[in-house]
């Protein structure tokens, strides 16, 4: 059976992605290798996909600790909307690590919708259930407005200054 390696570009990218993550069945991987070893175009596409994956692999949610407080910060402009993939990252970061004192830096978050608020509240409930505290840092004006309108700002404390936020965790120990 002959495979059409040059037919659909999306299919070719799926092949590149699955090959690079070693998820192709061995027989299919061998046939793909048979092909790219003789095809300059497909080889260049494969290597370009590898570079792209490497670039994308840089984390979008950076985590660091100040004293015993975990600070989560988006490394690039983000949106916490139903359609955004940052929501998964944020939710995973909170649920997996089980930190008791968490400060989420929202300075790079330009928009938030009801799903984003839901995830923030879910993260807050998770922290509280684990006898923890979750606070927000530097929400942008539009985000601050949404937090205020929904009265979530009465539950989730926000700070403009990181050191003040860190100090507040010490003032109100868990």
């Amino acid at each position: 059976m002959s495979l059409d390696w040059h037919g659909d570009p999306v299919h070719r990218e799926e092949m590149n992605r699955n090959y690079l993550s070693r998820r192709l069945a061995p027989e299919l991987a061998a046939r793909f290798e048979d092909h790219y070893l003789g095809c300059d175009e497909c080889y260049a596409e494969l290597r370009a996909a590898e570079l792209l994956i490497q670039a994308l692999g840089e984390p979008i949610l950076e985590r660091h600790r100040v004293n015993d407080v975990t600070v989560l910060r988006f490394t690039e402009p983000s949106q916490l909307l139903a359609s955004s993939l940052e929501l998964n990252e944020l939710s995973k970061a909170i649920r997996v690590e089980n930190d008791s004192k968490v400060l989420i830096d929202l300075s790079k978050v330009s928009r938030i919708d009801s799903t984003g608020l839901g995830v923030l509240m879910h993260c807050y409930c998770h922290a509280v259930k684990n006898s923890g505290v979750l606070k927000l840092l530097n929400p942008d004006a539009p985000v601050k407005r949404v937090l205020s309108v929904t009265k979530i700002d009465t539950v989730l404390q926000s700070f403009e200054d990181e050191s003040a936020a860190i100090a507040s965790f010490q003032a109100s120990p868990v």
Binding site: V10, R17, S84
Partner: protein
């Protein structure tokens, strides 16, 4: 069947990538495996075992698989299998001599709009299907293809640019 020096160099580069993919980029014997593959491939060419260029790629891949199997058997005989199998080496490129590549791919990524990066992360890193992404983001099939094409175009150009200076890229498999 005779390959020109240029064709042979291309094949060597592709085989090197294939070997790195299979045995890990950190394996110290990658070049030996590639060299042995090419030596056997050339010997078969001289004996007229390979009839045409189309079959040459698949043939070289078969030879390479054999060489890798022999290498693995030899390694297992010499060094018994550790109780805990180590994680495969990360696919990140080595730090020392690849600063330029890192700069280039970071620059390439920075040129893509935020939305494109989110879509590409979903496709390449979270390994979502095109259909899942379209459903989650509300993009059309055409939008998705444009995003993919735009990113691949940039990273293909970065890869081809790196190829112009291959002498110091040996460790990356480029």
């Amino acid at each position: 069947m005779n390959l020109s020096a240029e064709e042979l160099e291309k094949l060597r580069r592709k085989l090197r990538f294939k070997v790195c993919h299979e045995v890990g980029f950190a394996c110290p014997d990658v070049d030996d495996i590639v060299q042995e593959t090419i030596a056997r491939f050339l010997a078969a060419s001289e004996e007229q075992t390979i009839r045409n260029k189309e079959a040459a790629a698949a043939f070289s891949n078969g030879v390479c698989r054999n060489v890798i199997s022999e290498y693995r058997r030899r390694s297992l005989r010499d060094e018994p299998m550790p109780e805990v199998v180590p994680e495969p080496p990360g696919r990140a490129l080595p730090e020392a001599d690849l600063f330029e590549i890192r700069q280039a791919i970071a620059h390439g990524l920075a040129q893509l709009p935020d939305r494109d990066r989110r879509i590409l992360r979903a496709f390449y890193l979270e390994e979502k299907t095109k259909e899942e992404i379209l459903k989650q983001t509300g993009l059309t099939d055409q939008n998705f293809r444009v995003i993919l094409f735009r990113a691949k175009e940039k990273f293909r150009a970065i890869y081809l640019e790196q190829m112009k200076h291959p002498s110091d890229r040996r460790h990356s498999g480029i």
